[in-house]
Amino acid sequence: MSATEVQQLESRMAEIHALAVGFGLDPYAVHFELVPATMMYEFGAYGIPGRFSHWTHGRAYQQIKTMYDYGLSKIYELVINTDPAYAFLLENNSVLQNSLVAAHVLAHVDFFKKNIYFGRTNRGMLETVSIHAERMRRYEFEHGRETVEGLLDAVLSIQEHVESPPVASRAERAPDPRDPTPARPENVHRVGPYDDLVYIGATSRPEAPPPETRFPAEPEKDLLRFLADHAPDLEDWERDVILMVRAEQRYFAPQMQTKIMNEGWASYWHLRIMRELDLPEQDYLEFARLHSGVLAPGGRGINPYYVGLKIFEDIERRWDEPPTEGEDDHVTPRPGMSRGRAKVFEVRELDDDSSFLRNYLTEELVKDLDLYVYRREHDRWVVAEKNWEIVRDSILASMTNFGQPYIIVQDGDYRGSRELYLKHCFEGHELDLEYGEKTLRFVRRLWGRPVHLETVRDGDRTVLSCADIALRTQVSGG
């Protein structure tokens, strides 16, 4: 962008910001940075600038770059959930393109700030990831690049298996920029420092309480934390790496959990903000073209921008109509807003994708959006269902636990020899066993002793076991 264009964009952005605030959006301050395309692919690949090095990031970088080079897809914007927020714009975009992106970004930042699922995210993540990257680099110096890479391979293969940060209570939603990293739970029986004095002269001390019959006492969903805390043979730096990956995963979790809503919200607002701008006709046409490009149902998956936008607009329309008798459509009024508008603001605050779709994806919307269920029949992928409730339930099922199998630590002392017994909580969808076996070998590497994974195959309980990293995984029914 030329200097004049940058000036134009700056004044346009002030206008956009004023409009956004006028509409009731409440974003953090945003630092926009104009970057070349190469940086955009890089930030896209890492999710957040400055993250630790790993070949999977390099692969993502290459894929995004290739898509861009062939003109197949282009990242217009990247916004980071921090306070103040950071957003990156392509420096060779037109003023109009970047204006649209700026409007879109402001709505994202409002969402980050207001949606309850983001209440406990670390708003200083940009620095945190740099610190993590620095530490990992130091570990590379101390222990060798291959060693750290091998460890990261193992940790990243199970990175999804963490406990999501709990939803913040209303009181906690006041900005608390630093992540209250949960303290490591003490599992060891604590003996007080003065216990010795108390029992002087006693013939026998009270025995330590009998070990709990189950370890962990409750099944543990947070596989990374469990390994960091309890894997018998890991060194401290290895535990640190696990916890760093975990912290970053938990930071990204709310974004994965609200993808449709967040993109829908941002599209809803860029549309309304851009309409308010006094654009020359030519710009207006370009805007319309861009907007429809973003919203086009593409491929066979769901376009979150389109589905999210349509649901928000539908909510607003329905709540603007006079309430029907007996329907539970309460909405907290907001000054200067229609009922429908107040409702969409409420939804953006309280829902995540699951509840958003469960509550607001109607029969008409499923039909309008032309959503369907498809499955593999022999050698082809075939549309199998168009019944709206089945479609809705399938989407919801695919979102449970971020679409990942729900796996818990059932027993950390299996067979009394500290073997690890994991259980896949079967909900009707079978695991990819080949990948399961390979992943289990990584878990074996971290746990340091034999590991097992129970799942269901063809209706039967099946246990994958990995006794030794070098050995192939055993599959046993039972």
Binding site: V30, R300, D370, L371, V373, V383, L433
Partner: protein, 389 residues
């Protein structure tokens, strides 16, 4: 109002994190390809492509595994353009490339194996890493005597254009120092130093490969494919690695004839098989055109081993012995799909050859092409277990 938006722009040109991790990823891709060469070398897509063409190579080990659902056994939600109906076919699900190698999901919902993109040349470099012509001797005059000019000496006399200025100045400084004046100046003829050169004649090892291919009716699709695949890699290998290798192409059924390269790779004929015809022709060509004093000769022959009869087998044995006298090594590849046929083949006849320079290989599947290349084109310090298989 205080919090607003700010716009900045920095110089990012020195930022290299993405490319560094990308390079590491590429290293891993190459490692993975190296580990999978057996499978990759047999890929049909590769031998039909040009050198700079990018081929996609499936590497399964490079995807980071994770616990995930079996997409083939799971319903998924998609979005149409407004007119989808139950029963619409969205796409083919079969992308199984190597049956019997474990499950592979369809191409639609995700990529099961990671596909690396690599040019055929890069791939060839990996394949050829450890290959060389066996028993190669430096022979005869170089066809194109490659002269190499090297400046190796410094003299007091020479052509001004070869003046070694640095040494000349050094001499001048030394002389001035010796005379007590010190410093630089007053260069005389004594100070001058000149670079001179020598010409090196590099000795080439001339080699000729006589590639023989069975095109008889008994050679089925699989046999033809393996032969083409092997010779594709062999020709490419020889041309990449050696400047002076000639290749003679022979095909045979009951008669043998010399053909050009294109015919060699594309010809499919029918009829019986008389392998001796090819060996006889090879021997004639070797005797006429490639005197042993000047040439390393490498006859190679691929066949299904299904020869005309025991009489001809014996004649072949005899000819192989004669060829071996003139050759550096003799390669014979016998293709038996699935290894199912009886041992009453040419290979059985060759078992008796004890010369380590006879290299016999049995190929039963696509994955054997790469090991065959390795066996033919390795150092061979130890006697080969000729035709032992």
């Amino acid at each position: 109002m205080l919090p607003t938006a700010s716009l900045t722009s920095h110089d990012w040109s020195l930022h290299r994190k993405g490319p560094i991790d990308q390079a590491r990823h590429n290293e891993r891709v190459k490692d993975a390809i190296r580990g999978n060469l057996g499978e990759i070398v047999g890929e049909e897509a590769i031998i039909t492509s040009d050198g700079d063409k990018i081929v996609k190579v499936p590497i399964r080990s490079l995807d980071l595994p994770r616990f995930r659902f079996d997409e083939n056994r799971k319903d998924q939600v998609g979005q149409g353009e407004g007119d989808s109906k139950v029963g619409d076919v969205l796409g083919e699900a079969s992308s199984d490339r190597a049956p019997g190698q474990g499950k592979r999901a369809g191409e639609l919902p995700g990529i099961d194996y990671y596909e690396a993109e690599i040019t055929v040349d890069e791939l060839a470099a990996l394949v050829f890493e450890d290959l060389r012509l066996p028993f190669l001797q430096p022979k005869g005059r170089a066809l194109v005597p490659s002269e190499d000019v090297r400046f190796t000496e410094v003299r007091r006399r020479g052509v001004m254009s070869n003046l070694d200025k640095r040494r000349t100045i050094k001499e001048n400084l030394l002389r001035n120092a010796r005379s007590g004046l010190g410093g630089y100046g007053g260069i005389t003829t004594d100070d001058l130093r000149f670079k001179t050169w020598e010409t090196h004649v590099k000795e080439e090892s001339n080699a000729v490969v006589i590639a023989m291919r069975d095109v008889s009716g008994s050679m089925g699709e699989f046999e033809k494919y393996i032969t083409r695949s092997f010779y594709f890699w062999m020709v490419r290998f020889l041309r990449t690695r050696y400047k002076q290798v000639e290749i003679v192409f022979l095909t045979h059924h009951t008669d043998a004839r010399e053909v050009d390269e294109e015919t060699f790779f594309n010809l499919g004929e029918s009829g019986g098989t008389k392998v001796s015809s090819a060996y006889q022709l090879a021997l004639n060509i070797a005797e006429e055109k490639y005197p042993t004093a000047d040439w390393n000769i490498y006859p190679f022959h691929f066949s299904d081993g299904d020869n005309w009869g025991e009489v001809d087998n014996q004649r072949c044995l005899d000819l192989v012995r004669q060829l071996l006298e003139r050759s550096s090594a003799f390669g014979y590849g016998e293709i038996q799909e699935g290894g199912r046929r009886s041992p009453s083949t040419l290979m059985a006849t060759f078992v008796g050859i004890e010369d380590p320079r006879f290299i016999g290989v049995t190929i039963t599947g696509k994955d054997d092409v790469y090991p065959a290349l390795q066996k033919f084109f390795s150092a061979h310090d130890t006697p080969s277990e000729a035709a032992a298989r």
